[in-house]
């Protein structure tokens, strides 16, 4: 093999996972990790949690320390994004003008923010929360603000609303759908989450669209809803979702469909180009259609599969998806893929502080969503991995030991 080795585009969780696993597996050639942002690779989940609340500093946010990359001979290129790829020459070009050769290329380009496209959306005081710089901007805006409007009732919007409410701001969350977490959790979990936020004083405008950001001297002063209501505010946090970043993949003609299409080994439509993490779409044994996941678990574990493929190891990517979110002191955990389920049953009391929702599709367990029930979550992951389905009546019976549904 030549000196070019593996070049990884994107230094988020997926990119770092690929680099680390290659070294753990004793890959012998060069490993290069390219990031668009300055500095060492950092963790993203704390941006809307510990980092936003000021509990963690920058050093604590890092994925690995500088010594780790040095000791493992992982070359880092920071603040210099890739602008073009030449698949036939196996070379790529960086913004700085430098070019790099590669034997195998890994796309770990993550997601691109959906921007708010209404009048006033570019005003000062309208912030997003995807990277460290934006988290810094939000942190400093929070200090001088008294009121905040959050647009979007997904995980980022809700975790942001929690941090803002805990910091003492008056928070109103506007969501286009009439339910929170519309694409990503069952109704009992969505309703529990809403009640928890309401107890903290967060106000909701559900099933409402935003029409305009009102400004004074190009600073946000309010949000006008389509129904005419104006919410006065000092700060707007926008969390209306992300899209897989497929720009580079599409520029070289790789097969994409709202995500870079990869097979169960993580290989794209070009045999020397692989992909992992938020930017991908793939078939998973737990689900009938190709899926796209936005989670740490998928970034890390698909990254591991890509490294294994690069080392010539056989196998498929079949890790059970899971996800977590902090809502105040409560833990929301999801195992599996709830897409297209036809039955939900509840273990525990959905009006209490602790319960789990078991989701079935054609009598097969496909997902379990847990509030403050970590043991249910861990057992759900084992059940899903084993392809085991406790009967719905058993799942709801508190006397039934979920472990007994596991194959022995």
């Amino acid at each position: 093999m030549s000196e070019a080795g593996v070049v990884i585009l994107g230094n988020g969780h997926a990119g770092v996972s690929v680099a680390e696993q290659l070294r753990r597996k004793k890959y012998q050639s060069a490993v290069t990790l390219i990031g668009a942002e300055a500095g060492l690779p950092y963790q993203r989940p704390p941006l809307s949690k510990q980092y936003l609340k000021g509990e963690w500093d920058e050093a604590r946010l890092l994925q690995r320390n500088a010594e780790f990359y040095r000791n493992n001979d992982i070359r880092l290129i920071a603040a210099d994004p890739v602008i073009s790829i030449d698949p036939s020459a196996h070379r790529l070009e960086l913004k700085s003008g430098a070019t790099l050769p590669w034997d195998k290329l890994v796309l770990a380009t993550g997601s691109r923010l959906q921007k708010l496209e209404i009048p006033g959306a570019d005003a000062e005081g309208v912030v997003y929360l995807q990277n460290r710089e934006q988290a810094e901007a939000l942190k400093s805006a929070m200090r001088s603000a008294r009121r905040a409007v959050v647009i979007g009732g997904g995980y980022i919007g809700l975790e942001g609303a929690a941090a803002l409410a805990l910091a003492g701001l008056d928070v109103t969350l506007v969501n286009r759908s009439s339910e929170l977490l519309a694409r990503s959790a069952s109704l009992p979990v969505a309703h529990w989450t809403q009640r928890r936020h309401e107890n903290q004083g967060v106000a909701f405008r559900l099933g409402e669209q935003v029409a305009e950001i009102r400004t004074a001297d190009n600073r946000v002063s309010g949000v006008r809803l389509a129904n005419g209501e104006v919410l006065e505010t000092d700060l707007v946090l926008v969390g209306i979702g992300v899209k897989p970043d497929t720009d580079l993949a599409e520029s070289i003609g790789l097969a994409c469909a709202d995500g870079v299409l990869v097979d169960q080994q993580g290989v794209t439509s070009h045999p020397d180009i692989l992909a992992a993490g938020d930017c991908t779409r793939f078939n998973h044994p737990l689900c009938g259609e190709a899926i796209h996941l936005e989670s740490i678990q998928n970034a890390v574990e698909q990254g591991k599969r890509v490294a294994a493929t690069l080392m010539g190891e056989e196998g498929i990517y079949d890790a059970v998806p899971w996800f977590w979110s902090d809502q105040y002191e409560a833990k929301l955990q999801i195992a599996g893929i709830a897409q297209g389920h036809d039955l939900e049953v509840i273990r525990g009391d959905e009006h209490a502080e602790r319960f789990s929702v078991f989701c079935y599709a054609q009598r097969r367990l496909v997902a379990v969503e847990s509030i403050n029930a970590p043991a249910d979550h861990m057992l759900a992951r084992q059940l899903l991995k084993a392809g085991a389905s406790p009967l719905p009546d058993d799942a709801t019976n508190p006397e039934f030991n979920l472990r007994s549904a596991l194959p022995s």
Partner: protein
């Protein structure tokens, strides 16, 4: 900084210096210690940072919470009397020289 010794599944010892206030898991994770997965980044939701704590130090740790207790029952490797989740243990100056054994498997 507090000096800690992690024993990896291979038996190799890794000396790591970490600031007070961080968790044992973070000290291991940032230095890439083998045998600690820490998939959830330290929110006590995955049980993949399970460790066995030096017997000499076990009584000096804060007692475990009910979440940690429940998660340890679901850890991949055998639970022992000195089992803890390393994300739930805040590093203190008095931990200087503590030996932390990682289990054979976390998943």
């Amino acid at each position: 900084m507090v000096n800690l010794i992690f024993v990896e599944p291979s038996g190799a010892e890794r000396e790591v210096a970490a600031p007070e206030g961080w968790s044992l898991m973070e000290a291991a994770f940032q230095n890439g210690v083998d045998g600690i997965e820490a998939e959830c980044g330290g929110s006590c939701t995955c049980a993949t940072c399970h460790v066995y704590i030096d017997e000499k130090f076990i009584d000096r740790l804060e007692p475990m919470g009910s979440n940690e207790d429940e998660m340890l029952d679901c850890a991949a490797a055998e639970r022992r009397d000195n089992s803890r989740l390393s994300c739930q243990i805040e590093i203190k100056a008095e931990f200087e020289g503590m030996v932390i054994q990682t289990p054979d498997t976390q998943i």
